[in-house]
């Protein structure tokens, strides 16, 4: 089974990389971009288990490694 974890910066945490990307889009002529926050995506392949178990397992992975919960939020999607 497959799952996707998306990790994003929490609100209020400065994202200089997002700012630089926003500036670069502006210089390419894209107008009206009012903010960009850079994040990370992890695609996981897991041995079969129930959806409930998979979510619990992935949540533990996020808490212990995939996200730094001081500065990041995460979301889990089974696909």
């Amino acid at each position: 089974m497959k799952a996707r974890v998306t990790v994003t910066l929490k609100n209020g945490v400065l994202d200089p990389q997002g700012k630089a990307i926003e500036g670069s889009l502006g210089s390419l002529g894209f107008e009206g971009v009012e903010g960009i926050r850079q994040g990370k995506v992890f695609d996981l392949e897991l041995a079969d288990r129930t959806d409930t178990q998979a979510k619990a397992d992935i949540q533990a992975m996020c808490e212990q490694l995939l996200a730094n919960t001081v500065i990041e939020n995460y979301s889990i999607e089974l696909i």
């Binding site: 400065l14 730094n68 001081v70």
Partner: protein, 223 residues
């Protein structure tokens, strides 16, 4: 003072740190590979600078979950002293031994230069024999040194005298909150700092300013 340096794949300031510790303490320095699960007996354990695991995922994140870490946490819990410099500081925050996180420099540039540091708090073994308020020169070399934590933790760090060093004279190279360059744990036995005192301790380095930190911890632990 007996000291031990923990080595990770991608550490690159380990030799500098070992040399500084050996020369200043006058004792041989033990080294520990990250895959070990037990630490040798020592008064001070050091996580050196570098780019452990290529900074994959987040700086220090993979190293902070390596096999030696439970032993290091146990040692810190028992009051042994732990110093993390640069990548070592990043590991300490990732491992939860110090609060907060070290984010990408606000300028987005890798900075490799000398900055000025102010010794803010002298209430830990690391700084108790240093001069409070003294501004001294120290090298930095990092891409992720932008210290961040939530407002409540920041208030705690400040009010509990846990900010050991601040960038001074407008030389904050990374945008860190309150110009924080180094912090200690609640008990004061864990110090993390971005600058490299181990790179300014002999004449060939062009200065001796970094010695004061090592001499302070040595004197404190000998007392």
């Amino acid at each position: 003072m007996k000291s031990a340096v923990i080595l990770f794949p991608g550490s690159n300031r380990d030799c500098d740190m070992i040399k500084a510790l050996a020369q200043i303490s006058g004792q041989p320095v033990a080294t520990v590979w990250h895959a070990e699960t037990e630490l040798p007996d020592a008064d001070l354990y050091v996580l050196p600078g570098g780019f452990s695991y290529g900074d994959y995922l987040r700086s220090g994140a993979i190293a902070a979950r390596s096999h030696i870490m439970p032993a290091l946490k146990a040692a810190a819990d028992q009051g042994r002293h732990v110093l993390g410099v640069c990548n070592g500081f990043q590991m300490l925050t990732e491992a939860g031994l110090l609060p907060g996180a070290l984010m990408r420099n606000a300028s987005l540039h890798f900075v490799c230069k000398e900055i000025m540091l102010e010794t803010i708090s002298t209430n830990s073994a690391f700084t108790s024999h240093m001069e409070k308020g003294k501004v001294w020169r120290c090298p930095v070399a990092h891409h992720d040194g932008n210290y961040f934590t939530d407002a409540e933790t920041l208030k705690e760090l400040e009010s509990e005298g846990r900010v050991a060093f601040r960038y001074a004279d407008g030389t904050n190279p990374n945008g860190s909150l309150n110009d924080i360059a180094g912090i200690t744990s609640a008990k004061g036995n864990v110090l993390g700092m971005m600058p490299h005192p181990e790179n300014l301790f002999e004449d060939l380095h062009g200065g001796l300013e970094g010695r004061a930190l090592f001499e302070s911890v040595m004197q404190s632990l000998a007392a």
